[in-house]
């Protein structure tokens, strides 16, 4: 299987028959979905259902037990390690706890990928670093080490680093967790603006409902019970019309009836 199906020709990411497993323990099986260009795609599901594992598969940190992942028309799973490097340069990834390099300052953290992958003069790199930090509201914190700033700031700096190379596809692992409501709102705003202005495709692992409804236009729900995908579609529509009761329950915070203030964006 070296070509994705024809219907998925315009998809940015195509996942076919993906089975994820740790040794013999199957986390999720038979995942099939597409992420279209400029989508903001949410991977959601209960705690421990394999959201982050799916993300790790998408960025190549974990090998599928079965199935394939395609970027455009190219098979990522079957690519050689050298080819994979080319794929990975098009990704930006923010890890759950920021994962900034602790021996580098924030500015150096963001500058490192720029210095290694581009031929830009130092002044331009400095301007780019200040701009990326300004986008996440961290202007002036260039010379701080990750250990000297708070957890939420680490997280935002992690997003700034993920955006360093203006990636085509941005992967964010739990971006809103641990942020106050205002910062979280700002982050949603940032995500939407990035998509609109830079045309990035954004894949987000989260279970923050407010963010999900604010930014997503497509999503996949991973069902812990059946160990496969529970539903795929726009979260607001899934909340009201999904045939899977687990999905409706999840998106309504466990309230079976129609919430009084349904406000899909």
């Amino acid at each position: 299987m070296n070509q994705p199906p024809e219907t998925a020709a315009k998809a940015k990411i195509t996942v076919r028959d993906l089975t994820m497993a740790y040794d013999s323990f199957v986390v999720m099986r038979d995942l099939n979905f597409e992420v279209a260009e400029k989508d903001i795609f949410i991977i959601m599901g209960g705690s421990g259902c394999g959201k982050s594992t799916l993300l790790r598969h998408l960025i190549g940190l974990h090998e599928p037990a079965q199935g394939s992942i395609f970027y455009g028309n190219e098979n990522f799973t079957a690519a050689s390690p050298e080819d994979r490097v080319e794929f990975i340069k098009r990704f930006g990834v923010m890890y759950q706890s920021g994962a900034l390099w602790s021996s580098l300052t924030l500015a150096e953290n963001i500058a490192l990928p720029l210095e290694e992958n581009t031929a830009l003069p130092p002044r331009t790199i400095r301007d780019l670093v200040s701009y990326k930090l300004a986008l996440v509201g961290l202007s002036g914190y260039e010379d701080y080490y990750p250990a000297q700033i708070s957890g939420g700031m680490n997280k935002r700096a992690g997003i700034a680093r993920a955006m360093a190379l203006d990636p085509e596809i941005l992967f964010l692992d739990e971006p809103g967790a641990g942020l106050d409501p205002l910062s979280s709102r700002r982050l949603d705003d940032l995500i939407l603006r990035l998509r609109d202005s830079l045309g990035s495709t954004i894949v987000i692992v989260t279970h923050e409902l407010a963010s999900i409804f604010a930014v997503a236009n497509n999503s996949i729900f991973l069902d812990t019970v059946t160990r496969t995908q529970g539903a795929i579609g726009n979260p607001s529509e899934l909340r009201d019309h999904s045939e899977n009761p687990a999905v409706r329950l999840f998106l309504r915070r466990g309230e079976a009836s129609e919430p009084s203030s349904a406000s899909p964006s």
Binding site: T124, Y141, D166
Partner: protein, 375 residues
């Protein structure tokens, strides 16, 4: 985005009466040509922008504009600069970038102090670390006291795990090193002694050197690299991970819970490892002896005749102290480590350096004392 054909990026500063106008055009791409700048950059933020010929752009364009706005911004001036004339997507990004004002105080982090200040700080740091060693030793003694009276709380399972780690699991490396040390001592000794026809005295040399000094010192150095470093790294990551705080909030004394089992285990295991190292070293010497024509039985009798019980117990006596030094410096550095992965690395380095230094200094102290006491 308009303009599909690639054109080189250009920024032009002009003035429209009193107002500064910035015109940007072309494709601003990271991989493309470096942007050209025409006209003198104004010392005021642009009142409006002209972007009719702007093509594709990535982060380099907003970064360029932001950098200019930051340079000309007056301190204390909170007015938002005008973004008139920018296309909506670029405008959105700029608004986002300008939403949170620059943290002015944040810039004042590391200042280069004068040499005298640095000297003063270094001296204070040295004094602080001497104090922390003294404090830690005191705490260890108190904890041992609590243990002796049965009031110290820790899980006996932890203790046995550490015993296994720094006892049985250290045997292979201790065997290899002490065997080779015995071998080397015998070889070097034999070269000299053979010229007097006194090859048999190789047994005396190896026996006394191993049990008095080499066995215990080499074991201690192996253990500080192996176990002391592991203690520091383990406790350091526990601290970085707030696990030590978690122990405190459940009312456990982290000292009793983490340091005490390690200290006890190492103090108990070091003498056993030392005895073992002595035996393996003597065996290594015996092999060399056999190779140069000393029968093993003769070699053994000579060793037993020379190495008195007092001599043998000196090494074992020292090993208790060395074990305590290794465990304490490992745990001290781990408990006082900073909260990042780099800090854990530093703590590990300091633990190994401190324990090896401590072992050698303590050993020379013992040598002086034993000489004075004539044993």
């Amino acid at each position: 985005m308009p303009a599909k054909e690639s054109s080189s990026p250009l920024a032009r500063w002009t003035r429209d009466g009193e107002q500064v106008v910035l015109a940007v055009s072309g494709d601003w791409r990271r991989g493309g040509v470096a942007p050209k700048i025409q006209g003198k950059a104004a010392d005021a933020p642009p009142a409006r922008y002209v972007t009719d010929d702007l093509g594709d752009f990535d982060s380099t364009l907003p970064a360029f504009i932001l950098s200019h706005l930051r340079t000309v911004a007056k301190p204390g001036d909170d007015a938002k600069p005008s973004l008139d004339g920018l296309p909506p997507d670029l405008r959105g990004l700029m608004e986002l970038a300008l939403a949170v004002p620059e943290e002015a105080e944040a810039h004042q982090v590391p200042t280069d102090a004068s040499e005298i200040t640095k000297l003063g700080k270094t001296s204070l740091n040295v004094w602080a670390s001497v104090r922390s060693v003294a404090e830690f030793t005191g705490l260890s003694v108190l904890a041992l006291g609590r243990f002796a009276t049965g009031r110290a709380r820790f899980r006996s399972r932890d203790f046995w795990v550490v015993v296994q780690e720094c006892g049985a699991q250290a045997l292979p490396i201790v065997s290899l090193i002490s065997f080779l040390i015995g071998l080397i001592l015998a070889f070097v000794g034999n070269v000299q002694l053979a010229s007097f026809g006194a090859s048999l005295y190789v047994a005396d040399l190896v026996g006394i050197a191993m049990v008095r000094e080499m066995g215990v010192v080499m074991t201690a150095i192996i253990m500080s690299g192996r176990t002391g470093a592991a203690f520091a790294a383990h406790l350091g990551s526990m601290k970085a991970n707030q696990e030590i705080d978690a122990l405190k909030t459940f009312g456990f004394d982290p000292f009793d819970f983490l340091v005490l089992p390690r200290l006890l285990a190492l103090v108990l295991m070091m003498p056993l490892l030392t005895l073992y190292a002595n035996a393996v070293g003597i065996f290594g010497g015996m092999l060399v002896g056999a190779a140069v024509g000393i029968p093993p039985v003769l070699y053994w009798n000579e060793t037993v005749a020379t190495v008195s019980l007092t001599t043998a117990s000196l090494g074992v006596f020292k090993s208790f102290f060395f074990g305590a030094v290794i465990a304490m410096s490992g745990c001290l550095q781990g408990m006082h480590a900073g909260n990042s992965s780099a800090a854990v690395g530093e703590a590990t380095t300091r633990a190994v350096v401190a324990s090896i230094t401590g072992i050698i200094v303590l050993d020379s102290g013992f040598a002086a004392i034993f000489t004075v006491l004539d044993i």
